[in-house]
Symmetry: D2
Subunit: 326 residues, 4 copies
């Protein structure tokens, strides 16, 4: 099957590679010519713009946009929409806000174009491990694109089957899900990332408590000193917390036992924030997912203004003068 | 190797079975005669009391206590200590508070007895899957007991090796860890459970937001309706949140899509609380682990008194009269 | 000064009363004729519609809209805008989302109308205690309306002066603030309510811990039993937590010591949610304000779906069967 | 009435002054001779040790210990107990852990000594404003000391009476409370401080969001810039958040509008931690009080280890390399 790919960053380029390995034909473009040249050497048709891509493809066209969510994706889709013909399909595989999907699908639909939102998980390991795909869109369009999704998904692998799934959608056990109408794909991906934040923070706090178990706050006779790399590794077998995130933590600790090569400045992307917004919209308490987000906000500041307000009050009522950090 | 086992509940009995499968000889006792009879039929030597157990064993004896943490374990160990001889070893495989281990080891050591604290993870699946063991105690004693631990641990299995662990303690990759001196085993297990609470709550909140995405708080054009069993299943392959807890969630949702067979009343055991206490003792912020604990507290009440205080204030300043629940 | 008031609920009617006490002339309207009749008896000019109000007023007109935030306020302002003339002013005294103010001010400004957003705090006590006003809008318009704001504000009262405010805007010490351009008034009011939620929750949790100090979780020799009404009252003098919210709590506890007349079902209004959204937009960690909001969400449910997910996992790995609530 | 005071720091010395103003006779001691000299000039009998104090006092003696909670208080009380005679009373006015009070009262009672635990709020303003006193101990002893407590308490002042308190303990409205048996005084004080932390954090977060409303995260057309000193001041009259902590915040912001003289490093004392421990012991969810504590822990670190764990995982699955702080 033929697919156009716009955006050849780490994710886009590897998606193209995984598709070509499965025998699909890819027409590719990126504003930076480098990755397109590399992919051309591997069999892709590299074009130098959107018009050229449209011209190079057979109708009905399927064009996957894999760009940073927000203005650049929005503008590219608008430009594409002007070039494509009724019956063509635009796939947004980035981390777009799900309400933008719903709006876009309506706008593009009015022009005879189909739209599919795909949440794509897998990161740098996806080329080999496959991509977990969460898909939103009309049934006929998603069905038509099935060969693409099947090629990208991880496949059943050696993961033990869940009992009682007989008769349910078999694609799900291959690692891709048609989650519902437009917006559904990115909504599920958003929640995936929200959960990811929470799980990461759970591990992070646990290792922090282990790390400080020999610290000055603990009475001397109770101090314990742990080899964190070993703790992470032992949990990988037979424990309740076995998970890919634990595997990665064990790997990181094996390489750098006190993680001194990391600053601790932690970025966040839109999904964590949108997850909290969805929780608030739905009136669902989401303490853990929110706390995980706030930790990242806090990590990027030297001191919050809030903390200075606390110090100011403490001086006001108690005459406390807080020590300055060295 | 010979091992005594006191306490033949779900965990204790299956530990005995796994040991006997590996060729170890077990002398067992429980206040309830039922499980001992069953194990006798499988090859165990069942005795009817602690004195009988001590008499039936060869010195130096190794007696594993697998009872509910707290008073009953404490009393049993005290009674055992009076019966055992210098050189014998008491192993506490339950969920004991780590500071109690430190104290006990000191007290028992003064009497010539050795003490080993073992955090045991694996639950109802441990018999087949193996038990992840986190061990605290003196090196020579832990080394002596290695055949026991090796038999109980899951073994390396098909879990992908962590790069860069060459030269490190190979037992860890078998699924058991000598974590340090007494208290270390239960400390690591405590943190394991604390992390478990946080991960569980991360998944729980994520699925709650998915569940309510079609709810009345969401504008009609944005409502989405998800098949939660499929969402859980698709994440099992290739996503960042792959984990055993996700496997279990997928299983539960496949069986009961809206979990209507569960009340939502959630118990907690000591480890979650002790994890928070350790965090406070060490001055480590642990928002996620704490929020996960508090959710459980809240789940067991109809309404908190705190909520009534809020209602009372709202009536006081705004004249708001809160609706009563039906 | 003449003011039109649309919306004669608890807040609107008392604002009119306080203005008339200060000698201002009020033209009033509500879709329900009752409160207008009552105010007519107290000296207001009651009209039966927006057109009648506009006809009854002298240009430039100042019309205060005091309606539930959202669709009804939006529609009323749109309708008013069609009736008013350039130079007239619309004041929104409700709890409007601040970004709506910014948009509205732009739209109305294009038609020659001025817009002022006023956050109004004071609740049922405002008639006597005065209203704390947080005002957003153009300087000349806000200055023109000063007699209205001055009459509504509490005045300096017997509140001790803050040192070092000499030379600063004296209106602030009267209890009204021109906070900045449009949107500023409702932004400050939003934060006021966000803080209010956090403070309320702080008191609520504190009293909950006091209430349960004699509960079954506490070892028998440590159980303590408190007279909560007395605890609240004693803190009203000389303590660090003296506050109006504490006064109200003391009052409520004096009337109903265990608050059994309250269900504990706690509503929330938009400001608490918008505060969290603003925090997220600005990447400011706001744990306390968010937790206070989530408590309210939780209070309105029998059990969350999240809690059922926890129970399901616990059954999955540990065979735990949670007790059902009676 | 005669009172002995051990510990003449800021709190102890001012308590003595307030007592002498009310006509009480004070025998005072501190390991540092300076404050005792000053108080001698104001009328106190200054002695140079505990034995001298006991010798200088009439039986039955009442000795108030006002020292840092923990080892020093414990040791001083032990030493005093050896010197005092049956019928004498030891008062601990510091911030002692309430379970220590229960134990101490039992131990001292066995020796014929009485013990009273007093939580004392008022800080640097107590000399003039009076001290809010929360008292635990036997009724007859607390009654005997009433002249002392009445002199220290703020008195009714101009605080509006709570309706419906007729017939209740009138001392409460004077600002002192006999909260119950030993431990009760410090328990109530502990909760007071826990609430204080939560309220402080609520204000701190609110001002942080106001401060960042013009920041880069906000779309340019929505940015708002606030004069925080004015916002704090306007809320002091007629708003729902009026409180002493707000008064102090307004004062601090009037003096230093961006609080640049504060580092933002925030200490915590035992009460905040004990409050969380009590909540956990009682299974009461206390999200806000806990979050307020964790903010302080976080404020004293450059980066937590937890944050480095997050960075390490993000690199592991996404290849993300976090920026280093400048």
């Amino acid at each position: 099957m033929q697919l156009g790919m716009i955006g050849l960053g780490r994710m886009g380029a590897n998606i193209v590679r995984r598709l070509m390995r499965a025998g699909h034909a890819c027409v590719v473009h990126d504003s930076n010519p480098e990755p397109g040249r590399a992919l051309a050497a591997e069999g892709a048709t590299t074009v130098d713009g959107l018009s050229a891509m449209v011209a190079a493809m057979d109708a009905p066209r399927h064009v996957w946009v894999m760009l940073p969510a927000g203005a650049i994706t929005e503008a590219t889709i608008a430009q594409l929409a002007d070039l494509l013909s009724p019956g063509d399909v635009i796939i947004d595989g980035g981390n777009t806000f799900w309400k933008d999907d719903i709006r876009r699908a309506r706008e593009l639909g009015a022009r005879g174009l189909s739209y599919v939102d795909v949440g794509t998980s897998g990161g740098v390991h996806g080329l080999d491990r496959g991509y977990c795909l969460m898909i939103g869109g009309a049934k006929d369009v998603v069905d038509r694109l099935d060969p693409i999704f099947a090629a990208l998904a991880p496949g059943r692998g050696d993961v033990e089957a869940t009992r009682g799934r007989e008769g349910r959608d078999p694609r799900v056990e291959q690692g891709y899900l048609h989650a519902g109408p437009n917006g559904s794909g990115h909504f599920v991906k958003m929640i995936h990332n929200g959960i990811e934040y929470g799980m990461m923070q759970a591990f992070a706090e646990g290792f922090d408590i282990l790390k400080n178990a020999s610290g000055p706050g603990v009475a001397e006779e109770n101090r314990l000193d742990f080899e964190l790399a070993d703790v992470a590794e032992v949990w990988r077998r037979g424990s309740v917390v076995t998970s890919w995130l634990l595997d990665l933590t064990s790997q990181a600790l094996a390489e750098d036992g006190d993680l001194s090569s990391y600053s601790g400045h932690v970025e966040d992307s839109g999904e964590g924030r949108w997850t909290v917004q969805a929780a608030i919209e739905e009136a669902v308490p989401a303490e853990v997912l929110t706390a995980a987000l706030y930790t990242r906000f806090r990590s990027r500041q030297d001191h919050t203004f809030a903390e200075k307000v606390l110090s100011a009050m403490r001086k006001g009522f108690g005459g406390h003068v807080e020590p300055k950090k060295a």
